[in-house]
């Protein structure tokens, strides 16, 4: 449940690079420029060179084998700096799906691409609330139909993976974005990130273009849970950065002739945030450690652990960002400070891969009550 030397070094290297190349304020500029794109490709190329595409993959397929704790370390760094990257959408989600479902040929062909930084997008969500159990898209007679929302980095990805029903089974179809019958809209969210809505109308998909054969339901569930854990790591990186910035502000700002950080009510609120942050980190690190040590029952425990970690990370980031805004006083509500960027990012992360209502409900159902 602690980072090893390589994982710590990965995080520190990323933090150094991002501090120079993409500090939190870069998100403001990215948001305010014309047009919209889900990530900065130049930055991604640099990050991919550091291995962000290859974190989880086996070495045979160009991976670096940082393990899931390594994924957590990387996402924590990205979260601290509010960096928009295709790590969750491509490295994690597409990578895990191909690794778990792909035929030997598919794995040998596609995984090295992901490892090298080629960007994939995975389309699952369809409604206004995350609910992967309710997939309406269909693949019948070689035709894909349906509408997807909240698709990460679809605007720039060269390969799409689309989750759809094929008869009684769930399948993951590999789709070329340039196929006819596809309409895509990419819009900016409140934090400056972009997601796409895609409709598929009789899009031709060959049988060989599905990942593996048989039902993909469990593998899709596992990949989504791992994406939820990656998002939780980003959220806790953001929360930690916010708490540090808030403590620094309180330690510096004077009113009534004293540092406002001496006021006990504010001290207790910060202390409470720290406790909640460490609890949420413990839930996350526990899940990542279990995944790495292979001691987790993928069919049952992973879902419960992921719901646990994501629910606590959601609440931690939402609460920390609210408190940070308030504790920064007037400055906190200006766009000049970075606090507002974290505030908005926290709400987007909150919805990605399930909000706390979803995860609490699932956690309880899995626990049988």
């Amino acid at each position: 449940m602690i980072y090893n030397e390589e994982q710590s070094m990965l995080r520190d290297t990323l933090l150094d690079l991002l501090a120079e190349r993409s500090p939190p304020a870069a998100l403001r500029a990215w948001r305010d420029r014309d047009g919209c794109a889900s990530y900065d490709n130049d930055l991604w190329q640099q990050l991919a060179e550091l291995g962000l595409g290859a974190l989880l993959l086996p070495e045979a397929h160009g991976g670096l084998g940082f393990g899931y704790l390594g994924l957590g370390a990387a996402m924590e760094a990205l979260g601290r700096h509010l960096a928009l990257t295709p790590t969750v959408g491509s490295t994690v989600l597409a990578g895990e799906l191909i690794e778990r479902l792909g035929s030997d040929t598919q794995r040998a062909t596609l995984l090295p691409k992901i490892a090298a930084g080629t960007v994939f997008a995975v389309a699952v969500d369809e409604g206004s609330h995350y609910n992967p159990a309710a997939i309406g898209a269909t693949l019948e007679d070689g035709r894909l139909n349906g509408a997807k929302t909240m698709v990460l980095n679809a605007d720039l990805a060269s390969h799409w993976l689309v989750v759809a029903n094929r008869g009684e089974q769930l399948c993951v179809a590999l789709v070329d974005p340039s196929t006819s019958g596809i309409a895509i809209t990419t819009e900016q969210l409140m934090d400056g990130s972009c997601v796409s809505s895609i409709t598929f109308t009789d899009v031709a998909v060959g049988d060989a273009d599905c990942l593996g054969s048989g039902c993909s339901r469990q593998a899709v569930g596992e990949a989504l849970d791992i994406a939820a854990l990656a998002t939780a790591a980003e959220q806790l990186g953001g929360s930690e950065a916010l708490l540090e910035q808030t403590v620094a502000f309180l330690s510096e700002r004077e009113q009534f002739g004293v540092k406002i950080g001496t006021f006990q009510a504010l001290q207790h609120r910060c202390a409470q945030l720290f406790c909640e942050l460490e609890l949420a980190k413990s839930a996350l690190l526990g899940a990542l450690y279990q995944l790495d040590s292979g001691s987790i029952n993928l069919a049952s425990d992973l879902a419960s652990s992921a719901s646990h970690a994501k629910a606590l990370a959601n609440d931690c980031y939402v609460k920390t960002s609210n408190e940070a805004t308030q504790l920064h006083g007037g400055m906190g509500v200006t766009d000049e400070m970075d606090i507002g960027l974290y505030l908005k990012r926290s709400r987007v992360c909150n919805q990605l891969f399930g909000d706390s209502r979803y995860h609490c409900d699932r956690f309880a159902s899995l626990a049988g009550f």
């Binding site: 006021f263 805004t325 209502r357």
Partner: protein, 396 residues
Amino acid sequence: MQDYDQFRAQTRAWLETNCPPSQRQPVLEEEQIWAGKSQHFHNDEARQYFEAMRDKGWTAPDWPAEYGGGGLDASQTKILEQEMARLNCRPPLYDMGIWMLGPALLAYGSEEQKREHIPRIVRGEVRWAQGYSEPGAGSDLASLKTKCEDCGDHFLVNGTKIWTTKADHADWIFCLVRTDPTAAKQAGISFLLIDMHSGGVSTAPIKLISGASVFCQTFFDNVKVPKNQLVGELNQGWAVAKELLKHERKLMSSMSSMVQDDQEGIVELAKKHTPTAPDGKLVDGALRRDITRHLMNQRAQELLNERLYHQAKARAIDPRLGMTIKHIGTAELQRKDELLLEILGNRGLSWETPSTTDNEHTIVKNWAYDKAHTIAGGTSEIQLNIIAKRALGLPA
């Protein structure tokens, strides 16, 4: 009493004649009639209504007639308000001069100052801004640093004020400035009127997390101010300020109640965006309770206000109750905003994008904007300090 009945009848008749239909609807922000050089009217009826009210002095109905005010007594003023409310008449003029400076000038200003400024405020010829907070002086307002030096025939002002609402459209600004840097904090502050068109005054808009805002930062760079623009005694400005602060806090709470949202109710929104059972109940029992809690708190707030009204009527006001209003109201508003955002789910993440509905857009913008409510006009932390010390009597 006979006179008052007659006054009511006349007022009602006058309003029915002079307040045109378009001025009897809830006012939209862009249709508010502000004072000053950049005054504009969204239609002719608005101009007619404003001018008619202005000419009766009813932009400031209870100010003395000799300075252009309406000259009404307290009962007449109440009657006018009631009759305006009955017809849904819009406020005829928006201005910090009307709301805040006027009462202070009438109380503390010299005869010359009243004659110079009050009539122009009543007639909406000058738009006023307020210069209190500074980047280093927020909750601790008395630590303000904007320097005002006595240069014999004029004052010289240097410094900056923040959160100066609409200062970029203002003609004049009333400011708290430091005139004695050696005195104890509150003792070295004066209250000064400054012409925004003076050399050395500039403004910069403040962008909030919710986007563009009405707030500015205002800078004073060697601004010369005539000495007759000092209100009250030198170094006695804190008394004037405290008077005004009372009006500000009242204003803040009435402003936030003025922004009546004609949004979909939270229950309807939840039914639209989350599953419901055949009997109309929300399936998500936890969400259902969260909404219930919010509605209960909101209703209790309304009843708290009603209770204050009953107390006032019986002249038995418990002064501690009023101290709770701002904190309670702003905290609950933020809880509501968070709930609305959760209910919208992914649709509550958009920011001015084509696929967002107006209602969704409003919810998201309000969510961001309302974060300022627990800060502006006295932070929640200051409110809690006040409640603890003044309402409960805990030791300082």
